[in-house]
Amino acid sequence: MNARDEPDHSALSVRNLDAWIGNQQILHSVTFDVGEGVTALLGRNGVGKTTTLRALLGLVRRCGEVRLAGDRIDDLPTHAVVVRGVGYVPENREVFGSLTVAENLTLAARTPHPDLDTVHQLFPELRERAKQAAGTLSGGQQQMVALARALINDNTILLIDEPTKGLAPRIVEEVAAALRVAAARTPILLVEQDLAVVETLADDVVVIADGRVAHRGPARDFLADQAAVTSLLGVGTREVTPS
């Protein structure tokens, strides 16, 4: 273990994380830290990005060391990990469709006084649609609910999985703006396929390939290295648009 692999007191510190789905090992000794701002978790499809987030939460079988602000959380069940201060926005939103928008937020609130002001400031539409069943919302509105469920709590870190997936460009901008506001107060580990969004938001990147960390470092340096981007993220699978 070199100096870079020693646990530090970052918001999130991951050391030698292995994870399995069924009997198949997906992650192999994944090690990285998440500090202030946004750390983007990148990689081709199927390399283990979503599994990394789910392993951090204990939603899949895993072993290794995970520290949240210095405290071990890898031996805790999912609900206890979240209560320690981990906000999670899953891939495909996973809002509760039969519950109203307000009920989705009420369920997510971990304190008697959740930060609804910030949420309504970022997504005013949610206030207007409070009594609407979340299942009847558009994809973009559902993404707002999914983000709002994480943002109403005071978290140590946010784990956000592909928040712009399948959204119209205008909504992507709105989501990116909300993430920028959120990142100013809470570190974010962000899985994101849209490199334009990564370029505008991310401070650091962790690139996964075949379930292993293939690259760690500043986002700006990585994105400037076209050869590394092509090699690690795939030629023709990304469209980098200038921000």
């Binding site: 069940p77 609900h79 979240v82 996973e94 469709g97 519950l99 369920l107 971990r110």
Partner: protein, 297 residues
């Protein structure tokens, strides 16, 4: 006309029993994905313990206070039995469907054997206030009063469950858990604690159903729970897994279909019609009449 009224009210009374058995079963499967074949045992044990307590009062066993006490004992014993089953056995078997089926079927068989061992295999006459065995004239039909009590109990339970699910945070957790329980845990909620509570609630409703089944049939036998369980499963599938409203509508529909077909066609045709209705629902709307398509997560 009087025959139709009699069949209608009697059918509603039977539907009330189906609802009491099916609503807990539906919530248990909807939230926990546990096919609980021991649910009939909760019902039988609740009924017999209610009977035992009522009988112990001797000449007073037909009084109203003793009857109300038997309802409480039935519900409480169903709840306690369910709690033990969940905490000792089911909790270790989440995500292991085959083992769950084997264990719950085993509990069901063992419970029937236990009841036969203690109370014998013959049906026991259920003690109840004299008013219950009398009839009330409704539009010319002489309707046994016990039917009204069963219907009233089911309406009260439905209202309670509607309030619980619709107006409380706990109900919110159950409704969300039925949709996507791993996401509920990912919001920081200990969903396993809800599992135990729902199991206990289901057991209490089954135990209550056991006492009311004794009242409806005027007797209780070791097979009471299992015979109701078969129709409760059909009601759950038709109504939609995890839907209390679906269970209520399906319970009434199944019971009325059974009653009318048995009377106007031939005895036994009602059961056949119910199975046909189940087949139609499975072909046309496999998730049931009132359920959203359930995700397995």
């Amino acid at each position: 006309m009087s025959v139709v009224v009699l069949l209608l009210i009697t059918g509603l009374g039977l539907g009330a029993l189906y609802f009491l058995a099916a609503s807990g079963l539906s919530l248990i499967y909807g939230l926990m994905r546990v096919l609980n074949f021991a649910h009939g045992a909760f019902l039988t044990l609740g009924g017999y313990l209610g009977y035992q307590v009522a009988s112990s009062f001797g000449p007073e066993s037909n009084s109203w206070p003793v009857f109300l006490l038997s309802l409480v004992v039935g519900a409480a014993s169903g709840a306690m039995f369910a709690a033990v089953v969940e905490l000792v056995l089911i909790r270790r078997l989440y995500e292991r469907e085959i083992e769950q089926v084997l264990v719950t079927v085993g509990i069901g068989l063992a419970a029937v054997a236990l009841v036969i061992g203690i109370w014998g295999s013959d049906a026991r006459r259920y003690p109840a206030p004299a008013w219950m065995s009398q009839a009330t004239n409704v539009l010319g039909a002489q309707v046994p009063n016990s039917r009204f009590v069963c219907i009233l109990a089911a309406v009260v339970v439905f209202a309670f469950l509607s309030l619980l699910l619709g107006r409380t945070r706990y109900g919110l957790i159950i409704r969300a858990g039925v949709e996507n329980r791993s996401m509920v845990a990912a919001l920081g909620i200990d969903v396993r604690r809800s599992f135990t509570a729902v199991f206990v609630l289901g057991g209490a409703l089954a135990g209550l159903g056991g006492v009311l089944a004794g009242l409806y049939n005027a007797s209780l036998s070791p097979g009471t729970g299992d015979s109701l369980l078969i129709f409760a499963f059909i009601v759950v599938v038709i109504g939609g897994l995890g839907s209390v409203r679906g269970a209520a509508v399906a319970a009434v529909t199944v019971a009325l279909l059974q009653q009318f077909a048995n009377y106007y066609a031939a005895s036994g045709v009602g059961d056949l019609m119910v199975v046909l209705a189940l087949a139609v629902v499975l072909l046309v709307r496999p998730q049931g009449l009132f359920a959203r398509s359930v995700r397995i997560a």
